[in-house]
């Protein structure tokens, strides 16, 4: 851990103003502090935004839907009445992750910006293109059991570890940001990046930009949804594969489907073609399996993680079955429905 200075701006404008390339915004700090301890992040200055007003509310969005401020904690979101009633998929995904203590501290904006759990990324004694561009990727050909099978590059096979973001991707949320170039709204699918040749960049945020809110559109899928997470123990582990599934059904026929995968790529993995295919199809295992094929098209294993391809296929089908049946996965009872 390096030495750093500390700033606590009183409003958003000041926060944006004091930000530099060497500074980092900090809210819950549940990931950033670890990264600093591991010398992965070496900020010259921490800008504590927890006192910035206006970012800690959940409120109706102007065009319907719900707007969640960047500083609202994961716990607050998961147990908010409006969220549990209208966006239970989001609540379920949040409760599938971390622990109560972490969720009490972690914020909405921070969750979007958490970084990969790749062993090599955390180990400053090894090479890592994400941590030190150009140094190499020991995970390819090394220990890659937890790594990506989709959208990888020859520079990086890391995954994005969030559960919440998988649900936000499926719900087609938008990310509201502000910064030196003013306010922007980024569709969720465009917020996180694939690694390409710049795996050091996780998101499309520009320098100095700050997340102010996440907005959920009116379409809520509250009747037919599930968040199914498969991991190395029954709680408190990052996803090997997770699936956020949401359906709008007309009897047994699918009107609209949304599927996002976690644990398999550098970002929540969503393929519109798979969802388009399901439109008008019967809600059967056969349809779901074909959607899974489309979602996993081009999937590539690296040895230890090759099992994820088959696991993801099974998980997609099961999740869509859970959603269609209106029996979402409970995050308390660990029996998989």
């Amino acid at each position: 851990m390096n030495r750093f200075s500390y700033a606590r701006p009183n409003d958003l404008a000041e926060a944006v103003q004091v930000a530099t390339a060497e500074s980092r915004f900090i809210a819950g700090g549940t990931n950033l502090i670890d990264l600093i301890k591991y010398n992965v992040e070496r900020p010259a200055r921490l800008i504590d935004i927890t006192r910035v007003p206006g970012l800690d509310r959940i409120e109706p969005a102007p065009g319907g839907g719900l707007r969640i401020g960047a500083l609202v904690t994961n716990s607050t979101v998961a147990y908010d009445d409006r969220v549990t009633a209208s966006y239970p998929l989001l609540a379920s995904a949040i409760l599938a992750g971390a622990s109560p203590q972490l969720r009490n501290a972690a914020t909405t904006g921070g969750n979007l910006l958490q970084r990969t759990r790749c062993y090599y990324f955390y180990d400053s004694g090894t090479a890592c293109n994400k941590r030190e561009p150009g140094s190499g990727c020991p995970a390819i050909g090394g220990l890659n059991r937890i790594h990506a099978i989709l959208g990888t590059s020859e520079d990086c096979i890391a995954t994005h570890p969030s559960d919440m973001c998988v649900a936000l991707a499926a719900l087609a949320a938008t990310v509201h940001v502000t910064g030196p170039i003013g306010d922007r709204v980024i569709p969720f699918a465009d917020f996180h990046r694939l690694p390409g040749d710049r795996p050091d960049r996780d998101t499309t945020l520009e320098k100095g930009e700050i997340v102010t809110a996440v907005e959920l559109p009116p379409e809520d899928f509250s009747a037919h949804y599930t968040y199914l997470k498969l991991r190395d123990r029954l709680s408190y582990a990052f996803a090997l594969v997770s699936v956020a599934a949401a359906l709008d059904l007309d009897g047994d026929t699918i009107r609209t489907a949304r599927i996002a995968l976690g644990g398999v790529a550098h970002k929540p993995w969503r393929i519109p073609a798979a969802e388009d295919f399901l439109s008008g199809q019967p809600a059967t295992a056969e349809s779901f399996a074909r959607a899974a094929d489309t979602l996993l098209s081009g999937a590539q294993g690296f040895g230890h993680n090759t099992f994820k391809i088959g696991l993801a296929r099974q998980a997609i089908v099961r999740a869509l079955q859970q959603a269609a049946a209106g029996t979402p996965q409970s995050q308390i009872d660990k029996r998989i429905r």
């Binding site: 062993y119 090394g142 029954l234």
Partner: protein
Amino acid sequence: MSTTIETHVGSPRRRVDGRLKVTGAARYAGEVAAPGLLHGYVVSGTIAKGRITGIDTAAAEAVPGVLKIFTHANRPNVPAGDADYQDMVAPPGQPFRPLFNDRILYSGQPVALVVAKDFAAARHAASLVNVRVEAEPHATDLDRLRDSAYVPPEKREGIAPPPEPRGKADDALAASPTRVQNEYRIASEHHNPMEPHASTVIWEGGGKITVYDKIQGVKNSRDYITAVFGLPPDDVRVISRFVGGAFGIGLRPQYQLFLAVMAALDLERSVRVELTREQMFTFGYRPGTINSVAVGANPDGKLQAIRHEAIQGTSRFEDYQEVVVNWSGLLYHCDNIALNYRIAKLDTYTPADMRAPGAPLGVFAIESAIDELSYALKTDPLELRLNNYADTDENEGKPFTSRELRAACRQGADHFGWSKRQPEPRSMHDGRELVGWGMATGIWEAMMMPHSARATLTAEGKLEVACATADIGTGTYTILTQIAADSLGLRMEDVTTRLGDTMLPEAPVEGGSWTAASAGSAVYLACEKLRQTLFQLARGMDASLLGNASFEHVQFRDGRIELRTDPSETVSIAEVLRTAALDRIEEHETAAPNAETKEKFSQYTHSAVFAEVRVDEQLGVVRVTRIVDAVAAGKIINPKTARSQIIGGVVFGLGMALHEESMLDHTLGRFMNRNLAEYHVPANADVPEIDVIFVDEHDDKANPLGVKGLGEIGIVGTAAAIANAIFHATGRRIRSLPITIDRLMN
């Protein structure tokens, strides 16, 4: 009229140190404060083998608050001889010498110590130390090195090598109509106690130091310090009053102790060195193990042959050994047995004893093979075991001091409802989930080691008992208090137990499940001596009511000595001391194993573990939903702390079965999942209801208390029982632990 005294021993009692622990009043090695305390932060190496060509410390030294950066190039003089670095638990070989020279022996090796006025400065400066290295080819993959495995030429003290072969295993195996032959593997594991290793060295002046160390035996640290740094024993006091879990990794002095003492002596200041969680992966670990097992039986289910060979890794510099295969010769009656144990050199640190070292590894193999045999024979796995029950120790040709394993099997089975098990794999379902019931037996040594204790009674009727042994969270403070309170007929509140200090009567390291039997016996004997002394004093009192009584005629109750036949004939202990004009009576005693008993008998604890699992085989998800562990371990001093010990062991075994794996990147020669997010231990959600049954087992030979120890037995059969249950559920035999999703899914 005689009275029955309700004893503390045998009754559930709360931990006497519980309040101290939950309020934070119990201070651990890294929490002790001292005026002007300096903080050391370790710089860890990154390559597995090679040479340090230079260390640039200029940037680190420029950090305000940094006092000194120790490296191999500027460290104070220390002896070069290996013998000086030996400790009580060291295996044969040349112990690791921190900062000794430019050689890198393993990845994560400490290469520098930054000492600063505060922790933050030390940590920041450590990140600026630039170590240049020249790497050499290394090898850490046991699979690739298995052909280089050898029978250790020098045996490790206290570790029994495999017994001589009995009969002709190969011939009997070939002649057996039913045979099972397979490889069974267990991943390397790290101990991961909640409390990371730390040493706080208090500079007392005049060359004297007091060391608060995370250690399972203060004598081991003290002897190490005096040998390595050439200090007289009187100048070094080591204290380890509380240990936040150790599981074996606190047996040997670790490098943070060396570094803290070195810095304190050099700077003549108090110094603390605490390791990070990540650095907890830079020394001993449970070695990954490859077992090859073959068993053969006749159609009547009688075992004809057992062959069991195990290969484990060790370091380049020490020949670590543990007992892996011997258990296969102890659990069953079999005339043809061949057991073999070999080790292979890896470029890692030396492995370390970890809860029941060796036993769950070998028992996983033999108890999986026996389970496989039961299916091949179409017989019940439990009945197969009872059909081949060993009534004596056939490895050594001796009777057991006691062995209620059969009762454990029966009582465990009854409690679990084993008779309702459908024998066919995949025959039990609950909704989507396949249900499996499996069982295995467990075994561990019931050892005793020489321990000394002191018992001091004051005129106020307060008793203090003391022994240098450690309580690593097992409940030693509590059970010694119970034993002492019963001896003198006192309330537990009137007894204080002191542990973990080289100023106290000597004890070896705490480990091997021997502490209850050993320290317990020493305290018992010291208190017994105190009773005798008190009785003699009481008899000598003018107008003594007990004048004509013999020792057998009296009992101690409520702070008084009374005639068993007539409790109204009584005198208070306080009065005895007052009359004798004594303000205190102090007695010392040493308890040691009886050589003749050891010669004639074998001493083991046993268990029968029954597990229920539910498996979603499409998704590879297994849930352990029920465990019953029936344990035969002699007398149970405190059923409450005893149960906790078994539950902890079972959870440990569950982790071995499903979760725990220290992942080595063989290209880097480096353990990579060095944190508790990626090194998985069971979370609460993974741990089912665990029923612990203590089977009545009377043992009048093992030790004066009839106690056999509980620290290890809980883990031993658990992983095998779970793996066997998974086979019963799914029909898939997974012979490699941990059984993770990728290994389980179809």
